[in-house]
Structures are given as C-alpha cells and as structure tokens.
C-alpha cells in the first residue's frame, strides 16, 4: 500500500478479514503523523453506518497507542445535529461516512471550505456499493470532490469479485488508470452441507427443522454467524432457536429493521465476545470485524455464488486459516440449489452481471445537489460528471436532457415556465429559482429505496422502540394479531400517528407472518447448474430425501430440462393452477407471470393471481388451461411488454423509485408526515398521467430501461426463450406435483385485477352486505 501511496487510484482486492481496511489507512497515518496537516485529510466511505462506527473504533486504538495527533470522527444519519454542525465548522483529520452523508455534505454552500485540504478517499466494500445506485451517486460525489480538491487520491477496498478491471474503471477518475492489487486469497474454504436428522420440509423458508443441529454447531464453536436471506426468516429462526436453547447459550439477532439501539447492543456484545451466535441477514454481510467468528451457517439457498463466497469469508477473520461454513437448505428444492452452489464455490466460478451505464435518475439528483451548493455552469458540470467512471460515456445530449428535466420538468407541454425549478442567469450560470427549495432537496438526498416503514413501539413501558415494519404489513394487521419482531412475540394494539403500538404477548405462536424482506434473484449461472443436475439418472450427492423427491417428480410428471420448458396444470383447492418452470430468476419469472396472466385474461381464463420464485411461476384462476401454446408466443409476450406491461405494478414501482431519486416525488417533506395523508397522492397517478399524455418523457424512458434490466428483467425471459426454442412440454395432471408443492407456500402473491377478481369481489361484497343487514 505504501509503495503505491501516490497513485491517483488504486483497487485492493482481498478476501474478507485480510486487514485491508487498515491497509487502506496506512498512507494516511504516515502523512498525518507529523501533526502539520490542517483540516480534513482522508475521507472514508462505507456502505454501512455501523461499519463507519466500527472502523473509527478500530482506528482510534492504534492511533492512541502510537500517540498520533490525529482526530477521527464518523458522520452518518445517526450522528447528532450539533455534532454535524461542529464537523462542518471544524472537520476532523479523518472523517468516516456513508455515500448519502457525503452527498449531503457536498450540497452545502460551504463545501469548498469543508473539504479544503482533502488528500485521500478510501472507499470500503466498494464491490457492495458498485452493485447499485449508491455507487453511482458516490462516484458523482467523488467527481465533485475532485473539482474541489485537485490531486485527490482514491483507494477502493473490495472483497473477491468476478471482474476486477471493471470495478477499477468504476472507481478511477476517468480516464485515469487504476491499478488492481490482489491480496493472497488464502486457503480454500471448508464448506459443507449441514447434515440433519429430520429432512428439510417440502416447502417454506425457515430452516426450523435444523434447529437442534444448528444449536449443536453453536456449542462446538466460539462464535457462529447464522445468515438468512430475509429478515422475516431470521426472525422466525431466532424465535425457534431461542425456544430450543435449553442451556441458555447467549444468542442475538441482527437485521436492518431492528431498532438502532438494539442493533448496537448486539454489535457491542459480539465485539466483547459475550455472544456465542448471531442470527443475521445482509446487515452483517460487510466487513465489520465481529471478533472471533469461527463458523458461518447459511440458512436458505445462497441465490448467488459470489455472495456466498463473501459470506463464508466472515468466518475466521484470520489470514491463513480456512473459513468454515455450513449450508442449511430451507426446503427440498434448496437442497439442490445448495449442492449446485457448493460445486460452483469449489470451481471458483463466480457469477455477476456487467454493470449498465450510470443511471440518469441519479444524475438528475446530482444536478439538484449541485444547484443547492450554488450557481453552476452546465459545461463544467458535464465535464465533472463525465470524469466519474459510470458516466464516462454520457453524451452531452443526454446530460442536457437531464438538466432540462431538473430545470423545467422536461415535459412536451411547456407549462408554468415562470415557476422553473432552476433558472439560467444572464451570465449563463444555473441556479435554484427559489433558494428555499434547497431544504426540501437536501431532505431527499439518496438512492436507497426502502419501502415505507413504520416504527414499532411498546404501548406501555415508556414506548420502547423495537424496530420497523413495512407499511403494507402494518395495514394488514388488526388488533389482537400477534407477530414477531426482534425475536419476541408482540400483540398489535393499534396505529398511533405513524407508530405501530404493540404489547408483549406471552403466547407461544405468532399468528401473522412477519414482514417481507429483500429478495435476490438466483443467478443465471446457478439456475443452469440446477437444471443440469436434474438431468442426472440418480443423485448420489444429494441427501436421500431430496433424491427421492426428484425421483417421485420424475414418476408422476417430469423434471425440467435445460433445452425445454416444462408446464404443469392441475386443479387444487377449487382453483385451476398452471406452473411454468422457467428457471429465469425471481424477477423475470414475475414478469412472465404478469405477461401470461394478461394473455390468459384475454383468452377468458379468468386468472386470479400468481406467485413467482426463482425457478417457477404458479398461476391460479377460475378456468383450466388446456392449450398453453398460444400463451407462449414470444411475439405476443413482447407485445404485452410494449402495451400492457406499461400499466402494471412493476413498472409503477420502478417509476416510483426513479421519480423519487430524480426529485419528482419527495419522500420527506418539512411538514412531518401526518396520519391522514390526504395531501399526498400516489406516484401511480403521475405514472398514469405521463403514460397517457407524455409517454416519451425522460422519467418514462428511464423507467422502461431500468425495468427491463431490473424488476422486469426481460433479458432473462429472452434467454429462456432462446434456450427453449418453442419446445414446450405440457403435463395435464389431476393433482399437485412434488415440484409444484413448495410454490403454494410462497409469500408475495400478486393479484390479477380482471374479470375473475371482479366476479369474486361482487360475491364477497354481497355476502358482507347481507351479514351487515344492509342488503335491499
């Protein structure tokens, strides 16, 4: 590191726990040792608030021991207002922060003074930031810092990734070079399936069947991290673990929806070695040094080989010992996925999709941020933006379009020009028309799209905060419902303002499932591995129960094949069902569900809804499908995309994200959110209006592009179609099949608004009216 300390940009790739974070700071400590530097010297950016705080603690110790004259502080959304004010007036030598807090800092008029003297930027866990728009925003912020502090040096610290040069181009100031340093990857990990007495259930995602064996492993190790894919699963597992924990092992839970105080308590206990295990989610994915972790358990299929490798790296934070990890498939299907993932890890076959160009909604927000900090010149800003790796190929026309959108709204109908958001002065500089607008813009900086969440508090006992639940989940609760949060069962008492009030409930079994969480799509590569495994004559590498399950499926129906598309249809529980084994990943399967139900509605099959997983979509409706071929014409599906898909919920959700990032919709306003909400109207209305009157508006084009890559993921449907080439096998059966069974317990069912549902709604409303004695 020291040898390359003067490089303008450097990417260091090391497995987790290689001490790379401290290595990143070495040049800083050397340069600051003489106590001559005034003001900010090094900025450290991490994707997690907790990581910033943790690194501060880890840095402070050696700095104090060596008696170095260096002031180190962190600054995140959790930092107090007073402290933030003071940091702006008198910045520390080393500031540890997040991309959002940095973007906010650059929006102040006094940004040049705050950052004066800045020499180095250390971007930690850059592989995680590069996965989404937070990375794009960060690179734009760094471009801005470059303009303020010429000669600024950048260092990126990354875990193992599949394409290091691409990450280096992302980090470096374009077109400057960026060397990649590869640290010794260390010994190969020791990774296996956990063998359990009970077989995994046919369906579900909890992993509860493995509780005893997991507890046994916890007893045998110093500290175990038990990873789950969703917060809900972590909650349920923790609850079961706690009930089975007869010898009272200290076990904690950690995920992003828990109250900060609770999370910090768990983090502290871990660092002090007071916990034997922590049940966690992606919130512990990143490089916090959690002490002596010697075992990682992954519950549920890992979905993505790269993420699995990074998680495994959490174990044995020591350099030359192999990381030890166990996989616990949550159901039979995941057994297959886990075995496929194990093989991929052994072959070091990492998956990943190439990054698209820098998204324009983030650029729109950057223009707003720039306007907050003062008048700007368009060409200078364009050059600055182009120096950011993700935006190196941005054209002037595309930039001008974003500027026009920010300034005027960018509509085909030029209305209220006198109320432009930005206006151009006589000297050509752009500025906010109304300087007071900067407050609103600053309140809405960031690209993280959390679904709206509500705080959960205990009604009595001083209103102790427990965490957050999604608004949609809260809306589904009625008084008396019990659910899990922070590993305990609580009873829903009511909604007060925007807080969910609960009381402790001594009951043993929560009545309502917990809130949903992030879902990742299984990578293309892992899906293909699973399909290939299905073709074997027998499965000696699989546990007997799973091999028998696949054999049974082969007997009563058939197994999906790589070059064909398997469909099954059967009646169940008074509804007709169709299962499509597309193996295209969760998002593409969801899109396929939307397109197919649209076609089915046209064919009079009265679909009611569907649910999708990574490998299949299950559609239910009032009428049976006898001839599926007409539903699957690629042309018809593509037409559906152009026409009908424009009006569906996935597009609206994508639009909502883009419109929020681009500043059309404000998540936060100075008027605190009130319970009534009659003032706000949904972003869906804006989407519908634009679709009708201005379908080529910038935000609509951004929405289409993003959706095709992201939530719609049409690329993977095309990939599926190319793989299948019209070879469709339709199995008409009289009952549910082994492979279809797990689909029935999936959460995230999508209703289809059409004739079928209208028929059912009329029936239900009639019944309610009758019961209420209101019928004529």
């Amino acid at each position: 590191m020291l040898a390359r300390a003067s490089d303008p940009a450097l990417l260091l790739i090391a497995p987790t726990g290689g001490g790379k974070t401290l290595a990143g700071f070495l040049p800083t400590l050397v340069e600051l040792a003489d106590g001559q530097h005034k003001g900010l010297h090094t900025l450290y950016i991490s994707p997690l608030k907790a990581l910033a705080a943790d690194i501060r603690r880890n840095l402070e110790t050696p700095v104090e021991e060596m008696g170095l004259p260096i002031r180190i502080e962190d600054r995140t959304g959790d930092t107090s207002y007073t402290k933030k004010r003071r940091q702006r007036a008198d910045p520390p030598h080393i500031l540890l922060t997040t991309p959002e807090s940095l973007a906010l800092l650059t929006s102040y008029e006094d940004a040049p003074r705050i950052f004066a003297g800045l020499k180095r930027v250390v971007v930690d866990e850059i592989h995680a930031l590069a996965e989404n728009k937070r990375g794009d925003q960060l690179m734009l912020a760094l471009a801005k810092l470059d303009s303020l502090c010429p000669g600024l040096r950048r260092v990126g610290l990354s875990a193992t990734v599949e394409d290091p040069p691409a990450l280096a181009r992302f980090l470096a100031r374009h077109p400057e070079p960026c060397a990649v340093l590869n640290a010794d990857p260390g010994p190969a990990p020791d990774i296996q399936m956990l063998s359990t007495q009970a077989p995994p259930p046919w369906s579900g995602g909890g992993g509860a069947y493995a509780i005893e064996e997991v507890l046994e492993e916890v007893r045998k190790h110093r500290i175990t991290l038990i990873f789950h894919n969703t917060r809900a699963q972590a909650e349920i597992f923790f609850h079961h673990l706690w009930m089975a924990n007869s010898d009272g092992l200290p076990i904690g839970i950690h995920h992003g929806s828990l109250d900060r105080v609770q999370r910090e308590r768990v983090e502290k206990a871990m660092v002090q070695g007071r916990l034997r295990a922590v049940v966690c989610t992606g919130s512990l994915d990143l490089g916090i040094d959690w002490g002596d972790v010697d075992l990682v358990i992954q519950v549920g299929a890992p979905k993505n080989v790269k993420r699995l490798v990074q998680r495994i790296g959490r174990a044995n934070h020591r350099y030359n010992a192999p990381s030890k990890a166990l996989l616990v498939p949550a159901n039979r299907f995941e057994v297959v996925e886990c075995v496929a993932a194990l093989e991929a890890v052994k072959e070091n076959d990492l998956d990943g999709d190439p990054r698209g160009p820098g998204p324009r909604d983030v650029l729109c927000q950057q223009i707003l941020i720039t306007a907050c900090s003062g008048p700007f010149e368009a060409t200078a800003l364009f050059e600055e933006v182009r120096s950011a790796g993700p935006y190196a190929a941005l054209t002037r026309a595309a930039f001008d379009e974003c500027l026009d959108y920010v300034a005027t709204g960018g509509y085909a109908l030029r209305a209220y020009d006198q109320w432009q958001r930005l206006k151009q002065r006589h000297d050509g500089m752009w500025q906010l028309r109304d300087p007071r607008a900067s407050q609103l813009i600053r309140m809405n900086i960031g690209t993280i799209q959390d679904s709206d969440t509500l705080k959960v508090r205990l009604k009595r006992g001083g209103g102790k905060p427990l965490g957050e639940v999604e608004e949609g989940f809260a809306a589904s609760l009625t008084t008396g419902d019990t659910f899990l949060i922070g590993g305990r069962i609580v009873r829903y008492e009511g909604l007060r303002e925007l807080t969910v009030e609960v009381s402790r409930d001594p009951g043993r079994k929560p009545k309502v499932a917990v809130f949903s969480g992030t879902k990742f799509a299984t990578s293309t590569q892992l899906s293909h591995r699973v399909l290939r495994m299905f073709q074997q004559d027998s499965w000696p590498e699989l546990p007997a129960h799973t091999a028998e399950w696949l054999t049974l499926q082969r007997e009563v129906s058939r197994l999906p094949e790589p070059g064909r598309l398997l469909l099954e249809s059967f009646p169940h529980d008074g509804r007709q069902h169709l299962v499509v084994y597309g193996f295209a990943g969760r998002n593409a399967m969801q899109t396929l569900g939307l397109l197919l139900t649209k076609r089915m509605e046209e064919e009079g099959l009265a679909p009611l809804g569907f649910v999708s997983t990574d490998y299949a979509v299950l559609i239910w409706g009032l009428e049976a499908v006898h001839d599926p071929a007409p539903l699957f014409g690629m042309e018809a599906l593509r037409d559906g995309l152009d026409g009908w898909l424009a009006g569906n919920a996935v597009m609206k959700r994508t639009f909502r994200a883009a419109a929020t990032i681009a500043g059309l919709i404000n998540r936060n306003t100075p008027q605190a959110r009130k319970s009534g909400r009659q003032a706000t109207f949904s972003s869906d209305i804006l989407y519908d209006t634009l679709l009708k009157y201005d379908p080529d508006h910038l935000l609509m084009r951004i929405t289409r592009e993003e959706a095709m890559r992201g939530l719609v993921d049409f690329g993977r449907i095309e990939e599926m179609a190319a793989r299948v080439q019209g070879r469709i096998d339709h199995m008409r059966l009289d009952r549910i099949t082994p492979l279809a069974a797990p689909l029935f317990l999936e959460v995230g069912k999508v209703p289809v608004e059409g004739e079928g549902r209208a028929r059912l709604e009329a029936l239900e409303a009639e019944r309610l009216m009758r019961e209420a004695g209101l019928s004529p």
Binding site: Y416, R421, R436, A437, G676, L774
Partner: protein
C-alpha cells in the same frame, strides 16, 4: 357507465363509477374536489414540476360525464381549484374549454377551503346550496340531514389497494375527489369513522361501482 342507485332524504340519486353524483329528477350533475391547478401550485412553491396534464385529464373526464348525461345543472362542491391563484393561472385554452362545458346549462361553484372566494369565471358562486330535501356544502357538518359534501377524498377497498369511494349513511353522502391529482383518506380514519353512522356504506368507484359496508 354504471352506477349505484339509492335514496337520501327522499331524493333518488345515482353514485356513478366515475366518482360523480347524478340526480336525474333535477338533471343535476354533482362533483367535488377537482383541485385544478395543483401541479402549478406545487411548482410555484418551489417543489417539483409535476406533469402539467392534470387539468386536461380532469376536464376530459368531466366532459365525458357531461356528454353522457347532458345535465341542466353542474354543481361543483368546492376545492374546484387548488388555490385562488391556480384559478387565475388557467391558460386561455383551459378557460375556453370550461366555457364550452358551461354553455347552455346552469353552473354552480361552491366554495371550498382551497378556493374560498369568488373566482373570475362564469357560473354562480355560492357558499352552500339547499335544493329540495338536500343541502350541498363542501365540508360535512355534524348533525346535518340530507347533506351532500366532499372535502375528505374518502377511499376504501375490500383488500389490497383502496379506491376513491362515496360514503353513504341515512343522513349524508360524502363524494370522492374527482381531480386527477388528488390522494385519499381511508374510510377507517377516525375523522370519517366518527362522522358516519354505524350502518354506513362505501360505494367504490373505478371500473364499476361496488357497494360494501364502510370499512372501519
């Protein structure tokens, strides 16, 4: 266009799926809370420039109602404009459009909290209006009988997404908001739950009307 027929204080009325109220015996079309000019008002206040198509969209839907029913009277229940300045900011084309809709019929603007004063537009401007057994006003008053009002933008749903709706009981009817850029207040909000009697119904608008016991 379908609707839901009911009686209030002896008057036979129809709640239409579009969110308007039709009193066939009087040839009266009633609608509430158009909030015309909402986008302009937000832009004026330094917020984002929303798509400037909401006036066009609202008037298009109003025009369709007028064409379908040929009302002798159109009664706007207040908050027709998002504020008085928004009314002044209408373009000439929009003013002409309104004038066309008004031609040959009686047009009444009731005051709302957003537009509390006369507007420089044709038609009669009133605070409230009593007609036969019914009283029309912007905000419901407790204890009123035979009252038709707006203001709250009520919405409700059986499950999942809520739709704008009428709220109806033996004494009053509350209309949904007709404007394109209007949000809604769930019927189970204490304000609405307290205003409506125990046997109140919600009449959902949308593809077709759907009546159900008011969700509380």
């Amino acid at each position: 266009m379908n609707g839901y027929d009911f009686s209030l204080s002896g008057a036979r009325l129809t709640a239409r799926a579009s969110g308007t109220l039709w009193w066939a015996a009087e040839g009266l079309l009633c609608l509430s809370d158009m909030h015309l000019g909402k986008a302009e008002r937000m832009a004026r206040r330094g917020g984002a420039a929303l798509p400037p198509y909401e006036i066009r969209d609202t008037l298009t839907r109003l025009e369709a109602e007028i064409e379908a029913l040929s009302p002798a009277t159109v009664l706007c229940l207040g908050d027709s404009f998002d504020d008085l300045a928004a009314a002044d900011a209408l373009s000439q084309a929009e003013l002409d459009w309104l004038a066309r809709l008004q031609a040959g019929r009686r047009w009444i603007w009731l005051e709302g909290n957003h537009d509390p004063g006369p507007i420089a537009l044709g038609g009669t401007h009133l605070g409230e209006l009593a007609l036969g057994p019914l009283t029309f006003r912007h905000i419901a008053e407790p204890g009123a009988q035979g009252e038709i009002s707006g203001h709250y933008h009520p919405k409700a749903g059986l499950r999942g997404a809520a739709r704008p709706c009428f709220l109806l009981d033996d004494s009053r009817l509350i209309l949904p908001a007709f404007g394109t850029y209007t949000g809604g207040l769930r019927s189970r909000d204490p304000v609405l739950a307290g205003l409506m009697q125990a046997n109140a119904r919600a009449i959902l608008t949308g593809r077709r009307t759907q009546v159900l016991p008011m969700p509380r």
